[in-house]
Amino acid sequence: MSKTQVATCINGDTHEFLCDTHQTLLDVLRHELDLTGSKEGCATGDCGACSVMLDDRLVCACLVLGVEVDGKEIETIEGMSSGSGLHAIQQKFIDLAALQCGICTPGVLVATKALLTKNKNPSEEEVRFWLAGNLCRCTGYDKIVRAVLEVAADMRNA
C-alpha cells in the first residue's frame, strides 16, 4: 500500500515522514523518527505513558493517527530539557525519587508541564485529577504528587 507524506513540527524542528494510514502517532515517533522517549504502555488510551502535546493540547499519542498530524505542532519528552540541562520538573523528579522503573515518567513529565502551564498553583487534588490518566505501577503516586507540588512552588518563586 502506498504511504502518505506527512510534514509536522516536533519540538521545534520540521520533520517529514512517510506513514501508513494505520500507524499511530506513537508508532511514528518511536519507529520512524527514533523518538523513543514516549512509551507504549497499553496502546488504548488508559495509561498515559505516550502523553505528548499536539497543538498545545495534552493527548495520548497512541490514539492519534500519524496521518492526522500533517501541519501540526508536537512536543514530546525529548523537547523538555534544554541543551544546557534538565527542566526543573525533571530535576525535581530525580531529587525526590519520583520514579522507579521510569516507564511512566516521560508521560507524567509531559502531563505535569501541561498542568503547570495552565495552573501555576494547583492543589493536591487538582494534581491528582490532572494526572489520573497517567498510571504508575511503581511509585504509589505519592512521590510523584509531592514532586509536582514542590516544583510548582519552586517555579512560582523563581
Binding site: T44, G45, G48, S51, R57, L63, A114, L131, G133, N134
Partner: protein, 284 residues
Amino acid sequence: MEYVTPKSASEASQALSQEGAFALAGGTDLLVKLKTRFVSPSVVVDIKHIPNIMTIKQSAEGWWIGAATPCAEIVEHDSLSKNWPGVVEALSLIGSTQIQGRATLGGNLCNASPAADSIPALIAAGATCVISGQTKEREEPVEKIVTAPGMTTLGKGEFIIGFKLPIPKNRSGDAYLRLIPRSEMDIAVVGAGVSLSLSEDGKIEAIRVALGAIAPTQVLLSGLEDIFIGKEPNDDAIQKLVSLAEKACKPINDKRGTIEYRTKIAGVLAKRAFGIALKRANNY
C-alpha cells in the same frame, strides 16, 4: 485503509457514503476499535477540517457546539459552562486529561455506548443535533439518535456536524451525576442528567430527566409533567421521581454493578441531580 480530510460537509458525506467508511473525530473510541480489530474501515474520514465542526458559538438563537470540538475546549468555555453547567460537567467526566484533549460530543453520541456520559445530560438539556447528509441537512433531538448499543439512526453518508442548545431562561439549572467504582477513569454504573426551570414564584415550569447505563440506550423519563409542572417541588414529588427512575431501569448485571444495585442507584442519582439542578435554578 484510506484516510481522507474533506474540507466541506458535502465532500464528507460523499466520502462517508462509501462501503466501510468511518468518521474520525477524536479517535478515542475509533482507534481503540481499530487496534482490537473490532472495526476495519476501508476509509477513515477525518471530519475535523469541515467549517464550524470545531467551533463554539453563541447567538440569539442559542449555542452551537461543533460536533468535533474537543471536550477540553468546551470545558474551558466560561459562558457556556455558566449556561449549561450540567452538560459541561458531564462531558468533563469523559476519560482523563489526555482523553479530554481529543474526545468529542459527536463521537460520544455516535459511538452509542449505553454508558456514554454526555448523552443523558444533552438529552435532559433538550439539545438537538444537526446532521449533514448527501442531499440535505436535518435536525433531530439527541434522544432520537441512539437505537441500541453501537447503533444509531444515522443513514448512509450522514454525520453530525454540531449540537444546538437554547439559551436557558432565567431560573433554569441543569446537573449531571454519575457513579463509577473509582473516582476517575471508569465507565458509568449509572448516569443521571436533570434540567429544569422555575417560574418567578418558584414553581416548576419545565423538567427533563435522562438516565444512562441503565438500559441499552439512554432513557428520557416520561410522566414527570403530572408530578412537577406548576408545583413547588416537595418530598412527595421527589419520591415519585425516584420511583419513575427505578422503573425505567432495564440494566445489565456486570462487574460494575448488579441489576438491583444499578436500579437503586438510578433513583438516588436522579434525586441528587434534581437537587443540584434546583439549587442552580434558584441561583441563576
